[in-house]
């Protein structure tokens, strides 16, 4: 299982705080493509141009491999400080 979290504006846009997926994905890019294919709007919200992604709480890019039990998070560019 892979747990997918959403934060801030992206959480509101997606209408989900968390998803639990049973599928296996080779890498973050495969998971992203899978989610983007679910709804027309998600295509936009989850595109790499509009969102960052972390796997197990570290920022990574689409080539990062995924394993069962990973915690994946998608969120907008950060605005702290």
């Amino acid at each position: 299982m892979i747990e997918v979290l959403f934060f801030a504006q992206l959480r509101e846009q997606m209408g989900h705080e968390k998803l639990a997926l049973q599928n296996a994905f080779a890498d973050l890019g495969a998971l992203r493509q899978y989610l983007m294919a679910q709804h027309r709007e998600w295509q936009d919200y989850l595109s790499p141009a509009h969102s960052l992604a972390a796997v197990n709480q570290c920022l990574v890019d689409d080539n990062h491999p995924l394993h069962a039990g990973d915690e994946v998070a998608f969120f907008p560019p950060v605005t702290g400080g």
Binding site: F7, A73, F75, G80
Partner: protein, 166 residues
């Protein structure tokens, strides 16, 4: 450099902090360092032409401290700094309130200035915080700005300029 002087204090908290106490913690019993640089970020009254009434800071708790520790570790690998204190608030904040503190002590001022600004620049683009602003018109998520991305990247792109300070 004495190893015991190398300590990090990193905190993500709802409570306000005292800049004065943080400064003292950087100085107290610290006889080796000649330079203390500190930064405080405040909630601005006016952002993008609208008057900010309040601000809510959301974060990704499992990741926040981890990402801040990583940034401080990178700063230590770039400059010989001694003490680092980093506090970031979350939750509801009013205009003029303190949001973030970064303090660095070092033997030489150049290292302390560079490390302090580096930590802020990296935090701005890599630490999972998001601001929601309530102004006199509406409530909206603050958009990341392009200049912050450039400032953060510039530290990585110009090793020859950095070497001047090392």
């Amino acid at each position: 450099m004495q190893a015991k002087q190398l300590s990090d204090f990193i905190s993500v908290q709802e409570a306000n902090f005292s800049q004065a106490e943080e400064y003292l913690a950087l100085c107290a019993g610290n006889r080796q360092d000649g330079a203390i640089v500190s930064f405080v970020g405040l909630v601005r009254d006016i952002n993008s032409q609208h008057r900010v009434q309040k601000l809510t800071l959301e974060h990704y708790p499992a990741m926040t401290e981890k990402s801040l520790k990583k940034i401080v570790t990178e700063a230590r690998s770039l400059w010989p700094i001694s003490r680092v204190r980093l506090i970031h608030r979350v939750g509801a904040l009013q205009a003029s309130e303190q949001i973030v503190f970064v303090g660095v002590s070092s033997r030489h001022r150049g290292h302390a200035f560079q490390a302090c600004e580096f930590i802020m620049d990296q935090l701005k683009t890599r630490a999972p915080f998001w601001k929601k602003e309530q102004d006199d018109k509406d409530e909206h998520w603050v958009q990341a700005n392009q200049q912050d991305q450039q400032k953060a990247r510039q530290w990585l792109l110009k090793p020859e300029d950095l070497s001047m300070f090392m």
